[in-house]
Amino acid sequence: MIVFTPRNKISKNWIFLAPILSIFLTVILGGFIFTFLGYNPGETLYHIFISPFTRIDRISDVFVKACPLIIIGTGLIFCFKANVWNIGAEGQFIIGALLAGSFGLLFPEMDTKFLLMIMLFIGFLGGALWAFIPAILKTKLNVNEILVSLMLVYVAMLLIDFVVRGPLRDPMSFGFPLTKAYPEGALINKIPIPGIGFLGQLHYGVMSIFILVPIAWVIINKTLLGFQIKVLGSAPKATSFAGFKEKRITIIVLLLSGGLAGIAGVIEVSANMGQLQPEISFGYGFTAIIVVFLGRLNPIGIILAGIIIATVKLGADNAQMAIGIPKVVTGLFEGILLFFLLTGETLQKYQIAWKKYGS
């Protein structure tokens, strides 16, 4: 039988090795599944993992795609570290973008260079508001935050669909479900590179990662709040002994993660779409969960993880265009990857040995 023995010391190397090994095993298993379903594994894997790196504009698009994942993931670190399961970031992303976009569209006289700043703030509030619902229900009435935050994703999707097709629809859109274009001040511009022009879709919003991630790192590692969050996650009973307010921490982490998801939503729409449409998120909120695990709940790790997962997402788009594989295939890889990462966490905690019965 297989025997698990707790490890006394966590191997430092394993922390880096586990994600790399997980990715490697995921690619191999993915290849087998493609073969099993009748696709050419070599060609498919090439499109998914290699093709996004074959042109420089495609590489910059990887960063563009990674941007929302990293921002949402940064917020989710707070939740997951505290063992609070916010899986509704997708909805918080949508509400943040929806409220900020509505503000920009309804008050065109606000079109100044500060408009974007105001919208980012509204986006934060909107996302935090959407996360406040599970937060208050969990802390006051003991309602499971997993189910509530997830149900609110569906509500948010329907809400933006309603707003874009109804009240905010552009009468000049020839029947398309689109709002008017954002005013100039609400847009995020592409970054001009001297001599080349633009690199794919690379925009200034990507810079926000280099502000938000360090802030998150400081909060987690250098503040009392960060310490409280870690204690709540690893030893909930110690939280009350230490005099920390468990409910307050729960609410704060949910608001922070919701707010960051909201900011991600504003950046995504302002940089890539320039108007609201029924679908603005393509599962970013769910994918970010995988990013957080791959990044090992570490803000710096999440940047790398976001880039890897964004590669797969873009690769799947390429594979769909080139050989007609549906792009939901990314889910397949994300799921397998998460399984291996979680197994890695078990191996980090326990030593595994094979023992004969009765010995």
């Binding site: 295939v329 889910g331 799921g335 399984f339």
Partner: protein, 303 residues
């Protein structure tokens, strides 16, 4: 009126099936958040089988097997490798969404025959009641039978009591010699089978075609139903019918031209879930014995 009630029942059966299975898994201490994924696999498995073999009854078998396979994956990781159940469940749903989409890609746009109704001799001729209760399809009968059997199993049989003991305190159950991992494996696979059947019901009865993510959150609502039912089997029937009713109300509203936008009507099942959870959950903090005490906690067999 008959037709309306029949539609409500048909809508509630996938929820009923999936929630019954989840109830058994949770009673054994396993929080399976992969129900949505297991339902999707059941749906695509059933659809593929019927398309390939022609007979709708093969769809039931294929749905059950697909659900069990997904539950086995979940069990290997959560029970044997002791991974976090919440994260693994999410992972399974993400995985199964991708897998079913990939496997179902060649099936898009095709149609299958409906699962036939079975009329029960004489009883089906009773006015009103006959139509509703005795002219149903096989899966509908199975779903009601399941609730009855689960009630008897949990309350009046030894294996049922052992299952509850495992879910309430796995360390004590282990110390008197019960095989925790084996019992949880079986309970989870039963849950997966039920979720697979619930998923199979969707293409077999509700919409006879395959589309990506066609369960549209029913798996999550099923998990919420178990909480709503406070882990008491018969209450799942009440909850499932309630949600069936709310889902159908939105279509009735759309066809009758209620002055409410269709998207707002479509939100109702999800908002109702939140309201139902809110009304019921406050009680758990006062009376902790309702929730299986080991729910979601991995059993570590350390030597």
């Amino acid at each position: 009126m008959d037709a309306l009630i029949l539609t409500i029942i048909a809508t509630s059966i996938p929820l009923l099936l999936a929630a019954s299975g989840e109830l058994i898994a949770e009673k054994s201490g396993v929080l399976n958040l992969g129900v949505e994924g297991m339902m999707l696999s059941g749906a695509v498995g059933a659809f593929g089988a019927v398309l390939w073999l022609g007979n709708p009854y093969f769809g039931i078998i294929a749905g059950a097997i697909s659900g069990i396979l997904m539950a086995s994956v979940f069990s290997i990781f959560t029970i044997n490798l002791m991974t976090n159940q919440v994260a693994t469940g999410l992972g399974l749903t993400i995985f199964a969404t991708g897998f079913s989409g990939l496997a179902g890609a060649p099936l898009v746009g095709k149609t299958i025959p409906y699962l036939p109704k079975i009329e029960i001799y004489l009883l089906s001729d009773i006015p009103l009641i006959g139509n509703i209760f005795f002219k149903q399809d096989l899966l509908a009968y199975i779903s009601i039978l399941l609730i009855i059997l689960i009630t008897i199993f949990l309350n009046s049989t030894k294996p049922g009591i052992v299952l509850r003991a495992v879910g309430d305190n796995h360390n004590n159950a282990h110390s008197i010699g019960y095989p925790i991992k084996k019992i949880r494996w079986l309970a989870t696979c039963f849950g997966g089978m039920c979720a697979g059947l619930g998923g199979a019901y969707i293409p077999l009865i509700l919409t006879p075609h395959w589309s990506e993510g066609m369960t549209s959150g029913r798996g999550w609502i099923a998990i919420a139903l178990v909480v709503f039912a406070s882990w008491i089997p018969w209450r799942i029937i009440v909850g499932a019918l309630l949600f069936g009713g709310i889902t159908i109300a939105q279509f009735v509203g759309q066809t009758r031209g209620w002055p409410i936008p269709s998207q707002i009507l479509s939100m109702m099942p999800y908002i109702a879930t939140i309201i139902a959870l809110t009304m019921i959950s406050g009680r758990f903090s006062k009376n902790k014995s309702i929730v299986p005490a080991s729910l979601g906690k991995p059993f570590v067999d350390v030597t």
